[in-house]
């Protein structure tokens, strides 16, 4: 390490999002020279726990991997088990699964938009977007009984039906999002100060996105048309024509910066509305479970043998679960992968040569599920004098930069 750089560890205790993670920055003046990631502060061995439980119990465990993607993990897990055991899902259940997952995408993307605005210092936008998000949370509560951890998924279908009486409320909420879409676009995509802070910041090039195997809006914002709903459609997505959204469809160009990630997410909210609308217009009749008796289902699963992969496009990117069943009550192998796992490496090129004040928005831009930084320690390598920056001070730096640019 040359004497002209500072070491800045950020984390492990939570900065702007829920979970802990450490970033070790090498800073020269205001610019980041290199970054080293050290996750693992919250590794609970959930896959190991799963190997000691039966398949039905794991659905609920999988649901609790993430509080925001609480439809995505059980969706992927159920698909993996259905693949391994050769269980078919009734069409109506496929449609309900997609409706719930897309409602989740709306709430996750708007939640993210609020967090991003907060990191930039626009707290009024945070309140506005979370107010908008509340509508979909209410709808999810009405449909599933819970705002998070919906408990909708079951091997071979879903646990709750969507009734005729609930359809008008879904339509009302969809109309609300159609009406509010223009406002979201104005606030996030046409606002000059958001553009100033996010354009050409945290750039991930097309090649880097491919090489680092990044997923979800992070990779799509860099121009890689990768979306499992498009590439390998499953459930009801196979009937609806889903197109992977890249920023050039809005702005005509792909820069791979934070602004492009905002574009992709805002457009995806509208895409989700269209998918849900298609699903409720074409909702097929019939059963919602291939086997309603859980004890009988467990009996089938106990005799099943084989391997299966379940994939689902979660709000943050591809979720993939691998399951190996071996004629026993517990699965022999259960491997779950969340999108942030793959997007981890993308932070390195994104943060390269950025300013310290841009750290919060760049880190938030991939919508991480393992967040970081409650405090920041600046260590002067010449004097070894420690200076601790709290999260508030770091956020203040970020806000000051916004104000400076607006002047």
């Amino acid at each position: 390490m040359s004497k002209s750089t500072y070491k800045v560890p950020i984390g492990p205790i939570h900065p702007s999002l829920e979970e802990p993670m450490t970033f070790n920055f090498e800073i020269s003046g205001e610019r980041i020279q290199s970054v080293d990631l050290a996750p693992g502060d919250n590794h609970r061995g959930i896959e190991f726990m799963g190997r000691n439980r039966n398949i039905i119990q794991i659905i609920y465990l999988a649901e609790r991997i993430c509080g925001i993607c609480s439809a995505s993990h059980p969706f992927a897990f159920c698909r993996a088990v259905e693949n391994a055991a050769g269980i078919e899902v009734p069409p109506r259940a496929e449609y309900i699964r997609v409706i719930i997952s897309e409602l989740e995408r709306i709430h996750s993307h708007i939640l993210w938009a609020g967090v991003a605005a907060h990191e930039l210092g626009f707290d009024s936008v945070l309140f506005l977007s979370w107010k908008v998000r509340e509508e979909v949370m209410d709808l999810l509560e009405m449909l599933t009984g819970n705002r998070v951890n919906y408990g909708m998924f079951m091997i071979g279908g879903v646990r709750r039906d969507i009734t005729e009486q609930q359809i008008p409320q879904i339509r009302k909420t969809l109309q609300y999002y159609k009406d509010v879409y223009q406002k979201l676009e104005d606030v996030f995509l046409k606002d000059p100060s958001i553009a100033l802070r996010t354009k050409n910041v945290g750039v991930l090039t097309y090649e880097e996105a491919l090489n680092l195997a990044s997923v979800g809006p992070t990779t799509r914002a860099s121009g890689v048309k990768k979306d499992i709903r498009q590439d390998q459609p499953y459930s009801a997505y196979a009937d609806f024509d889903v197109q992977a959204i890249t920023p050039d469809s809005y702005s005509g160009e792909v820069n791979g910066d934070v602004f492009d990630r905002i574009i992709v997410r805002i457009l995806e909210v509208f895409q989700s509305v269209q998918i849900i609308e298609y699903c409720i217009n074409n909702l097929p009749d019939g059963e919602i479970l291939s086997e309603p008796k859980i004890a009988k289902l467990l009996g089938v699963l106990k005799k099943a043998k084989g391997e299966g992969v379940g994939r689902h496009e979660a709000p943050r990117g591809e979720v993939i679960h691998y399951v190996k069943l071996n004629e026993s009550e517990n699965p022999e192998v259960w491997k779950a992968r969340a999108p942030t796992y793959n997007n981890l490496m993308s932070w390195m090129p994104m943060l390269q040569r950025q300013e310290v004040a841009d750290i919060p928005i760049v880190i938030a831009s991939i919508d991480p599920c393992i967040g970081c930084m409650d405090r920041v320690t600046l260590v002067d390598s010449n004097t070894y004098k420690k200076q601790v920056l709290t999260r508030e001070e770091l956020r203040k730096l970020s806000i000051e930069k916004t104000r400076r640019m607006l002047r």
């Binding site: 050290a38 195997a213 990768k226 590439d231 390998q232 499953y234 993939i320 022999e332 491997k335």
Partner: protein, 171 residues
């Protein structure tokens, strides 16, 4: 770039790998009311040929690696590499799951991080959790376990019953 359908890809792999294939299976599933098909290829190759298999995939399209799943069966360590190819267009993507078996006594396999840098996180995870040596992996530090975690303890191995002391004494 030329898109292969699942059957073509299967023949392509069989032609190029020949006797190095220990098992290959094409699995087709249907989705939606329109019953459109999508495909999984399950492939098992000899350990020595694994790297060549990845290079073979790279000659078609830059493969996306999702994760490596590792499993200690008691006698061997099974790694399943979950790849996907031909993404970018509707219904074209094919999942390729490549299985490699390693000796449990001295599990080692060549790293693919020089071909696909994005594989680094998952290789590091398998290294620390199952004790598989990835030859040529640039960053050998632990990723999810603490840096001072005992070197000979691998939490996801079958015979692992936990650490004697949770907090190692300072030496």
């Amino acid at each position: 770039m030329e898109y292969y359908n699942a059957q073509e890809l299967l023949s392509f792999l069989e032609e190029n790998l020949k006797e190095n294939i220990l098992g290959i299976r094409l699995e087709s599933r249907k989705a939606g009311i329109k019953q459109e098909e999508f495909h999984n290829i399950w492939l098992e190759v000899k350990r020595e040929k694994f790297r060549d298999t990845v290079k073979l995939l790279m000659s078609l399209q830059y493969p996306h690696i999702a994760i490596i799943s590792g499993h200690d069966t008691g006698e061997t360590i099974e790694l399943v590499y979950l790849f996907s190819l031909f993404y970018g267009e509707k219904f074209k993507e094919i999942s390729i799951n490549i299985k490699v078996r390693l000796e449990r006594k001295n599990p080692a396999i060549e790293s693919i991080t020089d071909l696909i840098p994005g594989a680094q996180t998952t290789e590091r995870e398998i290294k620390e959790m199952l004790g598989v040596e990835f030859i040529g992996l640039p960053d050998m530090r632990n990723i999810f376990l603490p840096y001072d975690f005992p070197k000979n303890v691998f939490p996801f191995r079958k015979d692992q019953k936990g650490l004697d002391e949770l907090v190692p004494k300072e030496s």
